[in-house]
Symmetry: C2
Subunit: 353 residues, 2 copies
DNA sequence: CTGAAAGCGCTAACAT
DNA sequence: ATGTTAGCGCTTTCAG
């Protein structure tokens, strides 16, 4: 620690300007200068100070990302996708969790801006509560929302096309013979919850099937099992249940099994997201896959486009999802099941603890 | 963007020094000065530039963390714990994933150091391959390893007491009547894998039970189901199988169920980590819980202690785990099962997608 | 092609 | 109590 470009310049017998030029390679330097600087760097173990560079350049090569919670597999997927897209960019990611709380979300945004991130990617935790902080941040620095958005239309957004996703899900179970369907999702506190319920209702109406009143809780396993019990307690089961995310679906599956209900023979279940576990649960879950890589790529592209000076209208980009048919839905002629569902090695790997 | 402390000083009609003092509150200022500065700040929407402060202070208020992969629930737990401990500290976390690859790990460490993080927390991905990068980093900045460590003893470490953990697991199944046990874990490429196998073998020997050759793959669901099939293919099943982590255990459970084996009636299964899903799988998993909060707290404490000038010997701190008895192991007199296992709302919540 | 010097925004001596 | 100023490490005009 502590060897600066001055030390390098002195050791190489050149000016700091030359050392800097040699280091960055962005300007011509004599061959001998380059040579001697390189040697000095190696000998002294010089490491450029990114902080000083950032101060000088007024840009940090860093973008901030804030998601509601990193414990949630879906957010983990998006974070990984963003990280993946950033790979060879030289841009680093400053990751924060808002813990589903507008207050900590606002504070995280504040410190990210103090650190002068070059851009911000955020999945706002609360459709209403997040509005001031997000809007305020968007005024200072390029910002794009992913997955969830605030109700105010003041900032760019990219996410999955929820309407299309629900259409895919509903049409699939209907094609499998379902005549009555129910939606199990989240209370309408964030945009995804609302969009998905809407999408479901429209798709069901279009398909002309009977729809039961939706069950709305939160996006957790726990709610999934509770919802399953609620369903079991009713007079009769619907032919299919469409879930707001995979966690709910997996919890539901569990409750149904405990209740002695066979899936998909008696009822079909469809999830949403396609988290890693969906392929490994029992039976493997039919679900709508979120195009996370595409979302990440698009978000980053948008971020690069934003110019704080000429404010162009906010964009909303919805990306088409894909239905992944596995074994919790009744087979449909002409639609083949996703292979690799049942077994080993089909998940991205990972080598924990 | 762009309003500096100079602007504030000018607007308030005071010197930058006074403005700085008023802002930091670290030195006395006249009441009127404080007042006028506060107003100027509010009017101009001043935001201190953390980059400039960092350059001046030679400290960033940031620590870097690098884990093999954020998709793995266990690492996610540690990251959350560290974040949680950092909460009211004003210290921010710079999170990176090494993707289980020493090369990217080295590169992440390099950029973290360029950004002048005040400390580093790392779970090295490879017992051998990570050695040079970790040692090199530890030479520049306070560093502590969590969970995994490099074989060279040159850097601090804090993690779970694997030997004790395996003793807990083995003694528990033996108390439940098991006479033959097998270990399903990971190939010995990282410290945890080795420590856990060792711990298992010692504990089994001490308990005087018959042990079958261990099955070693990786820490994934996929390997768990494969191992389950391998077990099924043998002449007879062991009384109990102890797994290297929960993912393996959950995969194994699935394979056993498909094979028609009843758990825990015919065989007991014990996991390791106690990830959120362990309480929700079927049946709920008996497992050894990692004391992640304690590990995070201890790591941070250690980090604060390290003085780069006086090199004290490296420390290794192993923290005691706790056995969480659920329903994949045969009941033992006097040991009560973990309640809340079967149902709703027992997980930390989370409100995804 | 190379060097001298200014300045990014901030804080801490060092005056006053 | 307040103001002036140097300087953190770097890049980039501007001269030569």
């Amino acid at each position: 620690m502590g060897v600066t470009i001055h030390d390098v310049a002195r050791a190489a017998g050149v000016s700091v300007a030359s050392a800097s030029r040699a280091l960055s390679g962005r300007r011509k330097v004599g061959a001998d200068v380059a040579e001697r600087v390189a040697r000095a760097v190696a000998e002294l173990g010089y490491r450029p100070n990114a902080v000083a560079k950032a101060l000088r350049d007024r840009t940090t090569g860093t973008i901030g990302m804030v998601v509601p919670g990193i414990g949630n597999p879906f957010f983990t997927m998006i974070v990984e996708a963003v990280e993946h897209q950033l790979q060879r960019t030289g841009v680093d990611l400053l990751l924060c969790a808002s813990q589903y709380t507008p207050e900590v979300e606002a504070s995280r945004l504040e410190t990210l801006m103090a650190r002068r991130v070059d851009g911000l990617i955020i999945s706002p935790c609360d459709m209403e509560g997040s509005v001031p902080a997000v809007l305020n941040a968007a005024r200072q620095v390029p910002l794009v929302q992913v997955d969830r958005y605030i109700e105010d239309g003041g900032a760019d957004w990219v996410g999955v096309d929820d309407a299309q996703a629900l259409t895919l899900a509903v049409d699939h179970v209907v094609a499998g013979g379902a005549r009555s369907v129910v939606f199990v999702g989240s209370r309408l506190v964030n945009s995804s919850a609302r969009l998905r319920l809407d999408g479901f209702e429209r798709a069901a109406a279009r398909a002309g099937v009977s729809v039961r009143p939706p069950l709305l809780g939160d996006f957790t396993l726990g709610w999934g099992v509770e919802a399953g019990r609620l369903l079991l307690a009713e007079d009769s089961l619907p032919d299919a249940v469409i879930c707001g995310n995979d966690e709910i679906a997996i919890g539901l599956l569990r409750a149904l099994r405990l209740g002695g209900v066979r899936v998909p023979t008696e009822v079909s279940v469809v999830g949403f997201d396609d988290v890693g576990y969906a392929a490994m649960c029992d039976p493997p879950l039919t679900t709508v896959r979120q195009p996370v890589e595409a979302i990440a790529a698009e978000a980053l592209r948008l971020l690069g486009q934003v110019r704080m000076d000429d404010p162009r209208p906010a964009q909303r980009i919805a990306i088409a999802p894909r239905l992944v048919v596995r074994e919790t839905s009744r087979p449909v002629e002409g639609v083949s099941r996703d292979r690799g569902a049942a077994g080993a090695g089909s998940t991205p790997a990972g080598d924990p603890t």
